[in-house]
Assembly symmetry: C2
């Protein structure tokens, strides 16, 4: 399989590194991977017979400008270069997320699919905005659209619902889908500190981002819930359909009160059917100790599906960080190689 | 897809019923299923254009002898009839388990695969004894061997390890894989009763079988652990390689002592690597409240995989009973239809 890696930040680099580390596993899979393109927003590397990934990883640790890379680096290698040559089988699309327009990922994903190229993406934007259309586009061109990374990374939320529940109707979805907020709530409970103190701590140890708004106000959870709802319940909802409340208003008194009751606050994303209508909510919920999501602690995540014929399924775990996220891209790649049709 | 259903007990009937109930979902999948054969140990039904499943289900509720069924029932329809005509795409093999010889399932599975027919089986026997060989046979004939039902039924232990962890090395497996023993231990703890009292209760409400030996002495757990280990860690272990201890020796005093310590006894199946050697054990373990398997209660089951690049994954839930087991057969069928190659 010939790949183009577009977007070369933390996850992109971890992915290319993983291809080196997992060489023997990939060989056993019968999967001969050549990375023909690595492209970021400023430059790119092109090698028609495959880039030496180990050498590129070494290079990028010293020099951030891909155009300086001797074996094929150039300022003139960009997404259009791929479309001109069309000498790849899979586009690994990892450009930054834009939840309003989906760009530039939206255009890249569309153009690749239209040209009969499989796409695996880590980019929530295009998937939140246009999953169904993109999936139909993929089906029309007999290629696959792998999106496992967009909703939980290493935690197999998409495969869990799509493959592990195949043949069963998913009646409801609930999940603790954001590690940052889960960590903050845990810190508030364990240390008896305020929201702002817990947030500061999360930022200091690198769990919360410099701008944690999307996490703490619930939008990251809402995005993931939206993606899962549209895919697993065959809906075409938008982010406006989700009622969203974050954790910024939670007080130490509320946390303490919950503790007294033997309960815990979790930021829960929930899709459920009530009297024939679908409701999607993200809000802090007090869960009692028997709830399957009660013990999802620290940076962990979990999702629970209730189905008609396969019972309940709770999936928890999945490490955080760039390597697990990259491993979720590799997972989609292997499953596509194994013939699984995500797009039908 | 043309099917033969061989073995027509509780799960077999639930499966045929599910095909009727799920007609519209299967239609949406583009999956046109015709059941050409339904066979049990005494007779069979054959209809070259597909059996009327709804009518057969009605019939069997009144008359247990398939040879009396008017549209194709006969004492002369048996597995050889299928092999003579070879007019099916998938064998759904649900004959009773024999863990010593695997028969008659072993022969049926082999012959079907050799003749280029996909096999989905609920039968632990052949899978415990010869998974690797059967899987290679399937690969050689470019067909699939679906075995999701053999290790946890509705709980997607096989898919969870094979598909959701694709590209990652599974380093250890641990699971609460038997609902009966889990229920008995829970009853002992909650009601303060002896093992024998709890077993009696489990038998009365139909959770434990008339002969509960395989469950309570740990062999059911060992069988499932063996199957998962061989598939997910690419081993060729046998049941003799598993060190097995059941729950029959657990005393109320031990249960009470664990409770005092804030712990619970669970019958845990465990495969782990120690200094380069693989150890498989089944035994009652005292788990503390932070252990991911601590809260797997009642008849529930769960499995936990630790991997190198995708972190930990705990999968819990999955209803018990004939319909969920049948739904796990249907799940494999759909995933094979979606192109997934279980056999490589």
């Amino acid at each position: 399989m010939r790949l183009a890696v577009v977007g070369f930040g933390g996850v992109g680099r971890a992915f290319v590194e993983l291809l080196v580390l997992k060489r023997s596993l990939l060989y056993d899979e019968g999967l001969d991977i050549k990375v023909n393109y690595v492209i970021n927003s400023r430059a790119g590397v092109y090698a028609p017979d495959g880039i030496d990934c180990a050498s590129l990883i070494k290079f990028i640790q010293k020099d951030n400008d891909l155009s300086h890379y001797k074996n094929g680096g150039s300022k003139n290698i960009n997404f259009d270069s791929i479309m001109n040559k069309k000498d790849i089988d899979v586009l690994v699309e990892m450009t930054p997320t834009n939840k309003k327009t989906g760009e530039p990922g939206m255009t890249y994903v569309k153009r690749a699919l239209e040209n009969g190229i499989h796409v695996i993406t880590s980019n929530k934007g295009p998937i939140m905005l246009a999953y169904k259309k993109l999936n139909m586009l993929a089906a029309r061109h007999s290629v696959q659209l792998g999106i496992g990374c967009t909703s939980g990374g290493a935690l197999p939320t998409v495969n869990g619902g799509l493959i592990d529940m195949a043949g069963s109707a998913i009646l409801s979805i609930e999940g603790v889908l954001n590690g940052t907020t889960n960590y903050i709530l845990e810190q508030m409970e364990q240390e008896g500190i305020t929201y702002h103190e817990a947030l500061k701590k999360a930022m200091e140890i690198g769990i919360a981002e410099a701008d944690p708004t999307l996490d703490v106000e619930g939008w990251d959870t809402a995005s993931k819930l939206l993606i899962l709802t549209n895919i697993l319940m065959n809906e075409e909802k938008t982010i406006e359909d989700v009622s969203v409340e974050g954790i910024t208003g939670i007080t130490p008194e509320q946390i303490e009160q919950a503790k007294q009751e033997g309960k815990k606050y979790k930021l829960v994303g929930r899709t459920q059917n009530k009297a024939g209508a679908l409701y999607m909510t993200v809000r802090p919920e007090k869960l009692d100790e028997w709830h399957p999501l009660y013990r999802i602690d620290g940076k962990n995540k979990a999702v629970r599906y209730v189905s008609d014929t396969l019972g309940d399924l709770t999936i928890s775990g999945g490490a955080s960080g760039v390597t697990p996220a990259a491993a979720s891209i590799l997972r989609d790649l292997i499953n596509i190689h194994r013939g699984y049709r995500y797009s039908r």
